[in-house]
Symmetry: C2
Subunit: 144 residues, 2 copies
């Protein structure tokens, strides 16, 4: 069992941030396709992708957004649990792209013990923004 100290609402501060960097390889995309059952050819079929405006395979949006949750875990867990997301998928993420997901605390609600985060994913090479949105994390009540 983990013995890390439990994170609580009171550990959060406006401006607190966490990041997670990953490379979205073709193998990652294939593994996620198998795991989710989402075999949209835009993700795995290079010949089909070449006929689209993207030109080559792109990662599943929810796979990329998942790295935001990974970043949040570094900041809020164990203890905080995400309860909602809103995000726009601004640009495609191609195979072998190195990306960084970031979450920054922008709102604290001491009545509900929830923290809101601005979330972004950027391409590490081009600095292009790939995802923009927000996430809400709930902390246990009745604990300091």
């Amino acid at each position: 069992m983990r013995t890390d100290p439990l994170k609580t609402f009171h550990d959060m501060e406006l401006g607190a941030r966490a990041e997670h960097t990953a490379v979205v390889s073709a193998e990652t995309i294939r593994t996620y396709a198998r795991l989710s059952g989402d075999h949209n050819p835009i993700h795995e079929d290079a010949a089909y992708a070449a006929t689209t405006r993207f030109g080559r395979p792109v990662a599943h949006g929810m796979l990329v957004a998942g790295y935001v949750q990974t970043a949040l875990t570094k900041l809020v867990a164990p203890g905080g649990v995400s309860t909602g997301y809103q995000f726009d998928l601004l640009a495609p993420v191609f195979e072998d792209t190195a990306i960084t997901a970031q979450a920054v605390c922008t709102h604290l609600d001491p009545v509900t013990n929830r923290a809101t985060f601005t979330i972004t994913v950027v391409d590490d090479t081009t600095r292009k923004q790939l995802i923009s949105g927000s996430a809400v994390v709930a902390f246990p009540k009745g604990e300091k």
Copy 2:
């Protein structure tokens, strides 16, 4: 290369729907944890989870939300690509839970060639709603 006919905005109708059913096993959760790098103990550490209000390990929210994208793919791909999501994680998804993700078309915008879907995930056994939200799918412009 896939030879399925391309889905276009004009194939969408208000009320059009698609579903995807899956069982969220402990192995699925472990695989997703490795893939995403999100090793929050609430997902993989039964002893830790037993000390929380959940009582046992729960699936990553973004893993569960991913099944919505799998349902959408059945309805809109090849052709349509999701460009945004908004959803609340209403209840935890425990190991070995059978769930159904559903997307229902609720809005069509012929100016932008985008369709909006109400999205839900429910527990197949208890019928409890686990996720509620919306998704936007963009279709290629300049194609019939």
